[in-house]
């Protein structure tokens, strides 16, 4: 695409063309003005405000004091650990199962069966946030659960025993997987569809079985999408909030109100009225998310278009 600069650098253009370019420039700028305003108000400004709050106290610059205070908080490192373990469990689960299921769904020869299976996999995506946790409260409660025999076989006889803190990363990972995996399976399926049939046919003629084909051809070609999934999920996973909050409410305090980092930031803001400490935690999370996002936009190659 041409840019303003090289249009300006072409002096031999007709005058009429010029005025059209200028009219376009004016309208383009007008068309994005409202959006730019929102981008500033709800993207850039809150981030800058968080920076300001994180480095000040009562309006005075205090350097890293707020961060030091947060790091010294006895609840901070456990929260980091909780979120960290959850991320590891969830991401491993996501990568292994999404790739496996996508390859297998892709191998289904019968069209309606393949699309029907994908559809059933991603329907839970309609439930996000509070409603999916709410549903899983029932599923994880052996007294009412549709899979109660399974839970009992695993040695659980109450919701509280299922959501013990050391088990919670797995519980949260299962809930997140249930809600989000189907969408990713659909995405991976799309990526698999982009692999030319001839390539797969050639592999088959060369004697490669389905596992070999998946490992040597399909998965390498899906790599970019897998990276996309991991980065998006990682950034999203650090934000853990509603799931532990609702579980905390339902488990009679077994799950703490300070289980995740966002919950802790919330407590700082609303229980301790310490907006500076809250902003410090938010800023740490924002830096992680922003770093991943910038890295992916400029290095990931998924958006090489403009």
């Amino acid at each position: 695409m041409t840019t303003i600069d090289n249009i300006a650098a072409a002096p031999a253009r007709r005058k009429g063309r010029r005025s059209i370019e200028r009219a376009q420039g004016r309208m383009g700028a007008a068309f994005v003005s409202l959006y730019t305003l929102f981008l500033l108000a709800f993207g850039v400004f809150p981030a800058l405000y968080a920076v300001y709050l994180a480095f000040t106290k009562k309006g005075a610059f205090v350097g890293f004091d707020n961060f030091v205070k947060v790091f010294k908080d006895y609840r901070f490192w456990p929260a980091v650990e909780h979120v960290g373990i959850f991320l590891v469990v969830w991401l491993v689960m996501l990568v292994v199962l999404v790739v496996l299921l996508a390859v297998m769904v892709h191998a289904i020869g019968i069209r309606w069966l393949s699309s029907g299976t994908r559809f059933l996999y991603y329907i839970p995506g309609a439930l996000a946030g509070a409603s999916s946790v709410m549903l899983w409260l029932f599923v994880l409660d052996p007294t009412v659960s549709p899979v109660a025999p399974l839970l009992r076989a695993m040695g659980f006889d109450s919701l509280v025993s299922v959501v013990q803190v050391d088990r919670l990363p797995f519980v949260l990972a299962v809930i997140a997987f249930w809600t989000g995996a189907g969408g990713w399976i659909v995405v991976m399926y799309g990526a698999l569809n982009n692999i030319p049939k001839e390539v797969l046919e050639a592999a088959r003629v060369d004697g490669a079985g389905p596992i070999r084909t998946a490992w040597s051809i399909q998965i390498p070609l899906m790599r970019k999408w897998i990276a996309y999934m991991v980065i998006m999920s990682f950034a999203g996973g650090t934000q853990l909030f509603v799931e532990p909050r609702v579980l905390s409410q339902a488990s009679r305090g077994v799950v703490g109100q300070d289980y995740s980092l966002n919950q802790l930031a919330f407590l700082y803001a609303f229980k301790q009225s310490d907006f500076n400490g809250s902003a410090a935690i938010s800023l740490l999370l924002l830096v992680v998310a922003l770093g991943l996002s910038v890295y992916f936009v400029f290095k990931g190659g998924l958006f090489e278009r403009a």
Binding site: A23, V32, Y35, F38, F42, G43, L127, A130, A191
Partner: protein, 298 residues
């Protein structure tokens, strides 16, 4: 692949592999679907039936009606307030989102202006940042502007939807050719007419796509309205979590006079997700095209 060849051509190993694959696929179908089936059936039962009956039995319609009654009479129909709030916030945000995103995506794709590339890069970056990351900063900002508790505290942040701008940008840059627009200009159309008469009539698919993602995302958003719209202003997702604290089974110490039964809570969950579920069922192809929009062209 082995799965679509005639069964006679398979070795025992292939046959075993195939059975295993089908088994795994089927187990995951159950994993994804069983909770939903249970959710649909639960409101037809009493709490006692929930505890004692087989989980996939249908109760009866009288119980469903009774559960409905207890849900809608809970605190004088509070659930309707929550649903109305959700609908108001999401529809208003949807309208604003479309008004700001569609022209912005068009301008990014088909016009040249100063700062275009920078705006595009900013859009991509912000789009990939999870929206929860900015909730507390946005709360602090809104509270500085005294907007907490005002419907605008949900509507305005909900209307900032960089992913929608990106989708529109992708759509216009692939589906609408510059030549077509130039031809209209030759015929004497001004810039606004080019947009309104040529580009907009072609934009229906992307309007539906942006609308779908914006609406479902906002309907399910919990964190932002939870902090910016407390109490009676809360949308249904926040209300749902609120209901939970009135369920004695989960909070035995709760002394509130009006309580919610487990099956009424299940019904409330179903009601809360119903709009999104319906949109999902009818718009599944949008989901697919939207989720893969990032990498269709390399």
């Amino acid at each position: 692949m082995s799965m679509d060849r005639p069964a006679g051509a398979m070795t025992p190993g292939q046959w075993l592999g195939r059975v295993l694959a089908i088994l795994i696929l089927a187990v995951f179908v159950l994993f994804f679907v069983v909770p939903l089936i249970w959710l649909v059936l639960a409101p037809t039962k009493t709490d006692r039936q929930l505890l004692l009956d087989a989980p996939f039995m249908f109760g009866d319609f009288e119980t469903l009606a009774a559960n409905w009654e207890s849900l809608v009479t809970f605190q004088k129909g509070l659930i309707w307030t929550w649903i109305t709030n959700s609908a108001f916030y999401c529809v208003a945000a949807l309208a604003i989102t479309l008004i700001i995103s569609i022209p912005a995506g068009y301008a990014l794709a088909l016009t040249e202006f100063r700062g275009r590339k920078a705006l595009l890069a900013a859009t991509l970056i912000v789009m990939l940042v999870p929206n929860t990351a900015l909730v507390l900063p946005i709360f602090l900002e809104l509270s500085a502007f005294k907007l907490i508790g005002n419907p605008l505290a949900a509507i305005l942040p909900f209307s900032f939807f960089p992913f929608g701008v990106y989708l529109t940008y992708i759509y216009f840059s692939t589906a609408v050719s510059r030549d077509l627009l130039d031809a209209a200009r030759m015929d004497g159309a001004n810039e606004f007419q080019v947009f309104w008469k040529i580009a907009m009539p072609l934009a229906t698919p992307v309007i539906a796509l942006v609308g779908f993602f914006n609406f479902t995302g906002n309907w399910n958003n919990y964190f932002l309205p939870y902090v910016t719209l407390p109490g009676k202003k809360a949308p249904i997702q926040v209300g749902l979590a609120e209901l939970l604290s009135n369920v004695p089974a989960f909070n035995p110490t709760n002394a509130a006079s009006t309580t919610i039964s487990l099956s009424a809570l299940a019904l409330a969950t179903l009601v809360a997700i119903a709009p999104v579920l319906i949109v999902f069922l009818f718009a599944q192809r949008y989901l697919v095209s939207g989720m893969t929009a990032g990498g269709t062209k390399e």
